[in-house]
């Protein structure tokens, strides 16, 4: 069985083939640009791995893998407009480079190309695959909406936060795995289990991302320490702190959230002190681990030999070895 790097290479090559066919017109140049920025190609790699797990044919799954990657890039393209983000994967975002109108329209055509690619799967699973894909696509939009709504709210619960990251991040990982499994010929039970594996792994992964923002090795992680704290982002850690804080911790946290003028480093240091006094890191890690363990037991329950599942175990481990 191939490993994740093999899949990433196959996907990269297929994307180059596709973008060459797109040509260089005004509409497709930004499409080709965002697709060329790379990224980890996790979603299509997972789709191909799931397909392989059930002895599926790579040729039958590759277009659906591209579809998932195209859909993901479509959401990035439009999310970057909504977030006014200047940079994506170290390069200027599409709306920075070509303007908002171009970014909207190129995103739209990329979305259409995604659904077009997704239909290129075998007849025997066409309806099931499209059903998973469309439900997932709607959910991803709903997740982005929740995320935008949260920015304007001060009463977001941890339960709502988990639901938001589930929709915004996890369901696409889960959907990719399920689609790959369906094409590979998995039973309904196994397809549902691998979906649950992806859903739990994705939630766990997003909580790790929140933890790493504050406690990660910034040299290796490559982001500004405490970026989420500086921006008052409602992360798992922040919501957990807001829930736990009482007395002076509560007052100081509220003060830092409301402050408009501050030294970034000072804010991060002070908020981190509050997190530490509330043991927020441990709480977050234990929830992260809970979802990770759930994912592992989903994987374990699949009706295949454990050795066959090795690539997915090893993929999961690698994913969580980012901080070291």
């Amino acid at each position: 069985m191939r490993n994740v790097f093999d899949y990433q290479q196959i996907i990269a090559d297929s994307i180059v083939n596709f973008t060459e066919k797109n040509g260089s017109g005004t509409l497709y140049t930004p499409v080709n640009y965002i697709l060329s920025l790379g990224g980890k190609r996790l979603r299509p790699a997972l789709l191909l791995m799931a397909n392989d797990l059930f002895d599926g044919d790579l040729d039958e799954a590759i277009n659906c893998a591209l579809a998932v990657e195209f859909f993901h890039n479509f959401t990035l393209l439009h999310d970057d407009i909504m977030d006014s983000a200047p940079i994506r994967r170290g390069s200027p975002t599409v709306h920075e480079k070509w303007g908002v109108n171009e970014a909207i329209l190129s995103g739209d055509v990329l979305m259409v190309q995604a659904v077009q690619l997704m239909t290129q799967c075998p007849d025997r699973v066409l309806r099931d695959v499209l059903e998973v894909f469309h439900v997932t696509a709607v959910e991803v939009c709903e997740g982005q909406q929740m995320d935008m709504d949260f920015e304007k709210r001060s009463d977001v619960s941890i339960e709502e936060y988990i639901r938001m990251i589930e929709l915004k991040t996890s369901v696409l990982l889960a959907g990719a795995l399920k689609i790959g499994a369906l094409i590979g010929g998995a039973s309904k039970e196994d397809a549902d289990l691998i979906y649950e594996f992806g859903r739990n792994l994705g939630i766990s992964f997003q909580i790790m991302d929140d933890i790493l923002d504050v406690y990660g090795d910034q040299n290796k992680f490559g982001k500004q320490e405490g970026g989420d704290i500086i921006e008052n982002k409602k992360t798992y850690l922040m919501l957990n702190a807001l829930e736990l804080a009482t007395g002076s911790d509560k007052d100081r946290l509220a003060e830092w959230i409301e402050k408009d003028n501050f030294e970034a480093v000072e804010k991060v240091t002070e908020v981190k002190k509050i997190y530490n006094s509330l043991d927020v890191r441990n709480h977050s890690e234990s929830v992260m681990n809970k979802y990770y363990e759930e994912a592992m037991s989903n994987l374990k329950a699949l009706s295949l030999s454990e050795s066959r599942k090795a690539p997915l175990y090893s993929f999961s481990e690698q994913l969580f070895r980012r901080e070291s």
Copy 2:
């Protein structure tokens, strides 16, 4: 056989059913809003008419009719952002009412709901229907891109203009007809002919729209006379005038196009004089008629009795009776 008004009523009722299920969250309120603004529902009505023409079952076609209408509204929603349009069908546009971010995201989910609805067609035509729909959807994006590109260009040819309106307007009418015919059980030949009928009718219709902007009865047409002239829009008439004008006509036309400060009524009157001296109305009407006649001969070539086609003949006539 039902007439166009019957179909419009069926579609209106189905849309109400659908939007009730969408509920009233932040994401779906703008979706339901744009769908509730009405409009002529031409595209879904044509889909149902084509289906009926070949003795198809309404229940098998209604979701695809909605899909076409949803897709059309998705393009309107995003086009309105790109055009900074404040008003759509007499009401504030979505981005005016809820902001650009909301309009982008609600458009996105509307697009997903469109593709989701389109898959609800019978298995026997699923692949063919999706193929037509996705190709059409890509083409509509390409048409919008050409339209945006044209704004920045001064050398647009009439041939390019026809191609642009074909992509931006006609192919969706054509695609709707073809999808309806396929669901109704039409042969490949008939499905292609009805597509051509829609394509030619759509081009003809758009040229009529250009003519009516300048020569229509504004009381009945309900728009500002010469709105396209005021905005220097590259319509069929303007491109035709630019092609034909020589000497002082050419200089005056160029002057009016370049002028930044002008009285709207004066500009319209003066440009209209140039159009008249170049016989632009007649030229445009003869091209409009050429496409209309093409459409009629496509309709005539369908392998059905002429009496069976009566609703489509009468629909076409009504469409072109807008100015009287």
